[in-house]
Each structure stands twice: as structure tokens, then as C-alpha cells.
């Protein structure tokens, strides 16, 4: 079993290496070499660019915006989601408005936010928060609505007030669902950092990539985009580690039930 697994992984690595090799040695003229630099060229550029202080500062600025916008959007999403999940009146009242706003692609909100907040940090954090809000909201509503009736009844029996019930009963019970939404929201957030930075002012990973585009620094662009992919991968792994810690009790409970 593990031998076939190993063979599979080995095959994957081989094909990946072969793809890189084909990309590298594919015969190309001057024109194509400009648009599709070789692996070694991109690699050397990444080696130079990634540790440079300018690039690291840009990445830091982007991550700060992501952290702020993500936190704001998630907290708002959880709060409204708890309310909408717990009360059918809140759900029907806010339903049509949130359904419509959710359907508007963030890119349509971006120019509106630029007019309102300017082409700076406030706009970028706001855009990230807006995009993060909805997946978290949907996950939280679903999570609270799935709370088993016996838990609801117990909460009612103890005569817990609305806020206390939401925070102490519904929140923990809906947490696994909320985490699923938070994870989706994280990758959306990363994309939105870059999109909101493509508008070009200030610093940030998106600004850097866009500026390289405008001066035709092609290998640098590849390096920047690769870094973005890597960043998304690392953030996702970190999130899973955090999730496993926070939800350890939950997995424990599931394990016991299936045992």
C-alpha cells in the first residue's frame, strides 16, 4: 500500500521535473524568450528578488492589510451570522439585502470604494473585509442552523439571554462550520489584497507585480506571482494547523462517537 503511494508520489515529482525541463529547453526565439523566460532565469530572479528589502516590505504591507481586513470581515461575518442563524426574524429581515450584496462581485465594489475611501490602505482593508464577510456569514448561518435541537432546548432551559446563548452555545457549536468558511475566506482575502493593490499606489505585493508589468520586467513578474502562490499555500497550511488546535475538542468528540 505505502509502496504504491511512494511510487505515485515519485511519478508526480518526475512529471513535474519533466514539465520544468520541457519549459526550460523548449526552443524559443528572442521574442518568446522575453515572454517565457527559462526556469533558471526565473529561479535566479526569484532568488534575488524574494529576499530583497523592498520586496519583503511590500509583502509585509500586503500581509498587514490582509490581517486587518480579514479580522474585520470575519468578526462582522460571525456576529451577523450568529444573529441570522439564531433568529428567524433576523434571517428574513436581512436576507434579501445580504443575498444581493453577496452576488455583487468585489471588483464592482472596488471603484465605489476608491471614490469613497481613496486609493489607499482604508480602501484596501475595506475591500478585503467586504469580500471576507460573506463566506464567513454564510458558513456561520449554516453552522448555527445546524445546532442540534437538544442543545437549543438545553440553552432555553437554562434561560440564557440572547447574547449569552449566541456566544456560549451557538458559537462553539457552529465553530467547525465557521472554520470552513474562514478557510475559504482566507484564499479570497489573499486574492483581494492583490486586486486592491493592482490599482497601483503605495506599496504591496500587488503593486510590485503591477509595476513590473508596466516596465516589462517579465522574470520579476513570474517571481512575484510564484511567491503569491507559495504564500497562499503556506497560509492555508498554517490555517489548517490552527484549525486542528482550536477544533481539537471537536475532532475528539467525533472520534469518540465513531469509535
Amino acid at each position: 500500500m505505502s509502496l504504491t503511494r511512494l511510487r505515485g508520489t515519485l511519478l508526480g515529482v518526475l512529471v513535474f521535473a519533466a514539465a520544468l525541463a520541457v519549459w526550460d529547453v523548449w526552443p524559443r526565439g528572442e521574442w518568446a524568450a522575453f515572454y517565457f523566460p527559462g526556469v533558471d532565469h526565473i529561479g535566479r530572479t526569484a532568488w534575488d528578488v524574494w529576499p530583497s528589502s523592498d520586496f519583503l516590505r511590500a509583502v509585509g504591507a500586503s500581509l498587514t492589510r490582509l490581517a486587518l481586513g480579514y479580522t474585520l470581515g470575519s468578526l462582522a461575518g460571525i456576529a451577523v451570522g450568529l444573529a441570522m442563524g439564531a433568529s428567524s426574524r433576523a434571517r428574513s429581515t436581512l436576507g434579501p439585502t445580504t443575498e444581493f450584496l453577496r452576488a455583487v462581485p468585489v471588483i464592482a465594489v472596488l471603484p465605489i470604494a476608491i471614490v469613497l475611501l481613496g486609493d489607499g490602505d482604508a480602501m484596501r482593508v475595506g475591500i478585503i473585509a467586504f469580500g471576507v464577510f460573506f463566506p464567513v456569514l454564510v458558513a456561520a448561518v449554516g453552522g448555527v442552523r445546524a445546532v442540534p435541537p437538544e442543545i437549543r432546548d438545553t440553552a432555553a432551559l437554562f434561560r440564557l439571554g440572547g447574547v449569552e446563548r449566541a456566544v456560549r452555545v451557538y458559537l462553539p457549536s457552529a465553530l467547525p462550520a465557521i472554520f470552513a468558511g474562514l478557510r475559504t475566506a482566507l484564499s479570497i482575502g489573499l486574492v483581494l489584497v492583490v486586486i486592491s493593490e493592482f490599482t497601483g499606489r503605495g506599496d504591496g505585493l500587488g503593486v510590485a507585480i503591477w509595476n513590473w508589468q508596466s516596465v516589462s520586467a517579465v522574470p520579476e513578474m513570474y517571481a512575484g506571482i510564484l511567491f503569491l502562490g507559495l504564500l497562499g499555500y503556506v497560509l492555508n497550511v498554517l490555517f489548517l494547523v490552527l484549525e486542528r488546535r482550536v477544533l481539537a475538542w471537536h475532532y475528539g468528540a467525533i472520534g469518540e462517537r465513531t469509535r
Binding site: R7, G8, T9, L11, G12, V13, L14, V15, F16, A19, Y35, R89, S92, T93, L94, G95, P96, T97, E99, F100, L101, A103, V104, P105, V106, I107, A108, V109, L110, P111, I112, I114, V115, L116, S187, L190, V191, V194, I195, F198, I209, W210, W212, Q213, S216, V218, M221, Y222, I225, L226, L228, G229, G232, Y233, N236
Partner: protein, 266 residues
């Protein structure tokens, strides 16, 4: 629905979710009042102005023409994505070796968001619809590929045995057994791709800046025509809602038997 059920006048009202629409309307009235009272029309458009602009720009063709362009580019990209996603998904889903071979390549490429490729794609395809088409196809191909591979891998082996006894093998087996059996999963993948594709399409247009609603949005911002800007944003949201409703409806019709099947297996 039986006629007798509609006899009560309040029944449709109860279904209409009065509270929800009153809330939405109240927000709009509040926004309208605030914009007029505090003279905010320099930074936001009043709902009435946006609605007027929406009607006008749709009627005179300026916005509706761009919307048609967007839908055209979007449809072409989506068709490409379906063709590529289905072909690769079937291949990867039916062969363990191909699945292993492609695994690391797929895991490497998939986390790179399509819109991050906008600057590169402009280099490759220029600043026009081909760039947008490519980005839509690239973004939308992934969910279809993954869902197709997943669906094909999960096909009941017994179906293949039955097909073999009837002499159905090779390409015919893919068309007559694998694809129909994997259809529920494939259709879900297409629905996810279609929603994602529209977002990527408008986003790409915004930054590529040649045609379409995305470009229109950016132009209105630059020209500081706020009612038109809001109108375009509203239209984009409406397009998303309509496409999503159509796809959900289509999904239910195409795989009407899927729910039954799952219920029977349980």
C-alpha cells in the same frame, strides 16, 4: 399548486418575506435621504440617481452593449474551460497512473489565483478580449477538472463490468458510462466554475481595460460619473444572480435523478 391553497390573501404575503423587502427598501430610502440632506452626491450616488442611470444606460445601449460583450467573452471562456476541464478530468479520473503523474503539477498550479495572472496574460495576449477569455478559461477549468476527475473516479465498477458484457469499451465507455455516471459531480463543478468565471471575467476586464462591464466600471470611476458607476455595479450583481439561478435550475433538471439515487443508497 392547488387552487384552494391560494384562497387566503395573506398566504402569498407571508411567502413574500415582507420584513426583508421593507428592510432593503428602508435602507434605500435612508441612503436617498442622507445623500440629499447632507449633499453627499460627490462621494456616493443616490439610489434614485443610480436607478435612473441604470435605466438610461441600458436603454441607450452604452451599458447594455458592454454587458453583451462581457457575456460573450465569458461564454467563450466558459466553453473552453468545460472542454478542457472535461477532457483532463476524464483522463485523470479514469487512470490511477495519470492521477499520480499529474498530482504535483496540479497542486503547484492550482493555488495561483487566476486574477494574479492578469499582468502576465496581458503580456501574452495583449490588452483585449483574448486575455479575458484566457483568464476565464484558466480559472473556470480547475473546478470542472477536479469535479469531473472526482466523479469519474467514483463510478461504480459494476457499471463497467455490465458495459463490458455488452461490448461497450474504450471511447464508447467514456461517453456512455463514465460521463453519465459522473454527471452530478460534473454539473456541480460547472456551476462553481460559471460563478467564478463571471467574477474573473469582470475583474480581468477592469484591469485589462479594453471592453466589457469591468472596463465600463473603471471608466465611470475615472470620469467620476457616480450614478453610472453604481448602475454598472448593480447590473453586475443582477447578472450574477440571474446566472446562478439559471444554473441551479439547470442543475436540478439535468441531474433530476441524482437526489433519488443518493436517497436510495442511504
Amino acid at each position: 399548486m392547488v387552487d384552494g391553497e391560494c384562497s387566503s390573501i395573506t398566504a402569498p404575503l407571508r411567502r413574500l418575506n415582507v420584513a426583508g423587502w421593507v428592510f432593503a427598501l428602508g435602507l434605500l430610502v435612508l441612503a436617498e435621504g442622507a445623500v440629499r440632506l447632507f449633499d453627499l452626491s460627490d462621494s456616493v450616488a443616490a439610489p434614485s440617481a443610480a436607478a435612473g442611470a441604470l435605466v438610461e444606460a441600458t436603454a441607450d445601449g452604452s451599458l447594455s452593449g458592454e454587458a453583451a460583450t462581457t457575456l460573450g467573452t465569458y461564454a467563450q471562456g466558459l466553453v473552453l474551460a468545460i472542454a478542457i476541464g472535461l477532457a483532463l478530468g476524464v483522463a485523470i479520473g479514469s487512470s490511477r497512473t495519470l492521477e499520480d503523474a499529474s498530482s504535483i503539477l496540479v497542486e503547484f498550479l492550482r493555488p495561483i489565483p487566476a486574477v494574479a495572472l492578469v499582468p502576465l496574460a496581458i503580456f501574452w495576449f495583449g490588452s483585449g478580449p483574448p486575455t479575458t477569455r484566457f483568464l476565464v478559461a484558466y480559472a473556470a477549468a480547475w473546478p470542472i477538472l477536479v469535479h469531473t476527475a472526482y466523479g469519474v473516479r467514483g463510478v461504480d465498477r459494476m457499471l463497467y463490468d455490465v458495459a463490458a458484457t455488452s461490448g461497450v469499451e474504450g471511447a464508447a465507455r467514456v461517453v456512455r458510462v463514465s460521463l453519465p455516471a459522473a454527471l452530478p459531480s460534473i454539473v456541480t463543478g460547472i456551476r462553481i466554475s460559471a460563478a467564478l468565471g463571471l467574477v474573473v471575467c469582470v475583474t480581468a476586464e477592469y484591469f485589462v481595460g479594453s471592453q466589457g462591464i469591468g472596463d465600463y466600471l473603471n471608466d465611470q470611476r475615472v470620469a467620476y460619473r457616480l450614478p453610472e458607476l453604481y448602475a454598472a455595479a448593480i447590473l453586475t450583481g443582477l447578472l450574477g444572480l440571474v446566472i446562478d439561478a439559471l444554473l441551479r435550475n439547470g442543475e436540478r433538471r439535468v441531474v433530476f435523478w441524482a437526489g433519488e439515487e443518493q436517497a436510495r443508497r442511504r
